[in-house]
Symmetry: C2
Subunit: 354 residues, 2 copies
């Protein structure tokens, strides 16, 4: 059996920002090696970054059989750099080089745990938007009783017009269908009450658009419904989504430190905590966003997956594997055709491009 | 020693919506009895609701020494009722009767675990706004490493103008100073990044107002900073605040059910969970919003404290005691004088009433 993953005749190539995360290049290299091993080398990983550092990090592994290449990039956009000025000044940064390669179709995806703002801006500027997409959107994954929930937008667009959120819903629906295997994904509009009349000006207008669309719109959902998995895809503006994502991420950290504090209190507590460690870890892991790897930027002419600065090797591995899956499943082609045929059932003068 | 709590010569009277919560009147009566006992009867509780039901619930306690009275109200606004139409139609509801008494200054506060929307609307309509307050705001308490953080607004005002948030900050600062005993409360603006340039149109404008005010403004804070207690008072629009509050409330429930699920897995897990129960309960309790009782509605001519529908007797007790504390500490008088002298340091044409 030929294990090679190809796009038509071409073998899939995934570029990885080797200097992106807080533990780069170590975690990046380790994650990529694990991804290639797990995937039996059916795609190629293109490491972007300082060649000597990448080679040094790779020397820790038996790489003879691994399907990889290195493209040199001498600069790195740091976490504290301002995205816009850094992109202007650092022409040879890993982000610029990786996305240029993607634009030239020399690679099929770009994966980075670097400066999120810079990756979002550069992806949009360099790759461009898909046909009919007003604003690309960044997703976030929330653990839920149904497994996982996709939230859009998690911070790419802060000031939203109603039709932006409609577009997010269309893109999210396609993503959940293909990547979560949900046949007819349930779309929920994040709001402050369930009734149609609830919400701010934006959500009231979005409700009408979604209600008249051919999406599986289940209506308004509230903050409490996110983790309960009431919807497969949660739609909101990027301000609310970003606040919620960062709040959610902090909960696990705060709980872990509380458990640790209690464990240090006495000998009995210490003993119980020791015995419980495995179970606690399992429970907290379900809520650990790192497990999902990175998040996709949807609506661009290409595949960009963005990871947390502190991405573990496992997170990097998952990001690479998800990028391959998105390529194979032609997520972008499906989004483009859904966006083209995006329609609202004609009703009281409401159109999808209000 | 005279244990009577008085306002000048007058004894403090706190009205309680006896039919408000999901477990009314049982939890309401129990909570009020406990509050009166704990406070040695230094104030009076005025129960509002169906007289026979209240008397029946009170018969379970030794009430001979308790300082209470009953005001009959035959109707109840249910949790599913639309606030506006319910207030119009149910003139003899506990909420309407309780707030009318408060307006007439026959009581000094109104406490309810009933329909939040109805209590907010009725309080604003019946009692009116404090001088210089554009919009009353409902608070929410988040547990934090510093003890507790006040978030404003948690849902009273969804579409906000910049100066509304400035006013929330002034009111929150006074509340935290008097009720949390923080000398110069740290005010944080909830945003999607720390830099001044980050955010949506609203937060960028609010940043300027707060930065030029005489508040102890510590700048933008992110979702992850809320539980870490970076600010004593977190300011945001009511849409974001409401989503965050309900999300936060759901976390404990979801975790509890996960722990329960694991405990049912096997005999060893069951044993460990049994031993751990006390510790787990303590940890989760710190994150349990019920412990804080209810939340204040700030900016109205009166004291309204609103509880969760599922308020426990302990929550009801705490709501009553907090109402007394707000009365004694003259929170409203202090807010009014702070609002009157609310000023921004003159800078680039920015005024507090933009």
């Amino acid at each position: 059996m030929d294990e090679t993953s190809t796009l038509g005749k071409k073998r899939i190539r995934i570029s990885l920002d080797a200097m992106g995360g807080d533990f780069a290049p170590h975690n990046e290299i380790k994650g990529a090696v694990e991804a290639l091993r797990e995937a039996n080398n059916r795609f190629e990983v293109v490491f972007i970054g300082k060649q000597d550092k990448i080679k040094q990090a790779l020397s820790e592994y038996d790489t003879e059989e691994l399907n990889y290449s290195i493209v040199n990039a001498t600069q790195v956009i740091g976490m504290e750099d301002s995205p816009v000025s850094a992109l202007r000044e650092k022409k040879d940064s890993t982000i610029a080089v990786g996305l240029d390669l993607h634009k030239e179709r020399k690679v099929d995806a770009f994966v980075s745990a670097g400066n999120t703002g810079a990756v979002v801006s550069a992806s949009t500027l360099v790759l461009g938007r898909l046909q009919s997409v007003s604003r690309p959107t960044i997703g976030a994954f929330f653990p839920s009783e149904q497994g996982v929930t996709l939230l859009l937008d998690a911070g790419a667009v802060t000031d939203c017009k109603p039709h932006f959120l409609h577009e997010f819903a269309v893109m999210g629906s396609i993503y959940a269908q293909l990547m979560f295997h949900r046949e007819n994904p349930k779309i929920g509009l994040l709001n402050i009450g369930e009734e149609e009349s609830k919400g701010d000006e934006l959500t009231k207008a979005v409700y009408k658009l979604l209600d008249n669309s051919n999406l599986n719109f289940i209506g308004n959902i509230e903050g409490r419904d996110v983790l309960r998995g009431k919807a497969d895809v949660v739609i909101c503006d990027g301000f609310t989504g970003n606040v919620l994502l960062k709040f959610g991420e902090s909960v696990i950290g705060v709980l872990k430190s509380k458990f640790k504090m209690y464990a240090e209190r006495g000998i009995l507590e210490k003993l119980w905590m020791g015995m419980m460690r495995g179970t606690l870890r399992k429970i907290l892991k379900e809520f650990d966003y790192e497990e999902y790897g990175g998040v996709p930027l949807l609506g661009i002419k290409g595949i960009t997956i963005i990871g947390h600065g502190g991405s573990t090797p496992k997170a990097i591995k998952n990001m690479i594997l998800k990028a391959e899956e998105m390529i194979i499943k032609k997520v972008n082609e499906r989004i483009e055709s859904a966006m083209e045929s995006m329609q609202t059932v004609p009703a009281s003068g409401i159109s999808s491009t209000v």
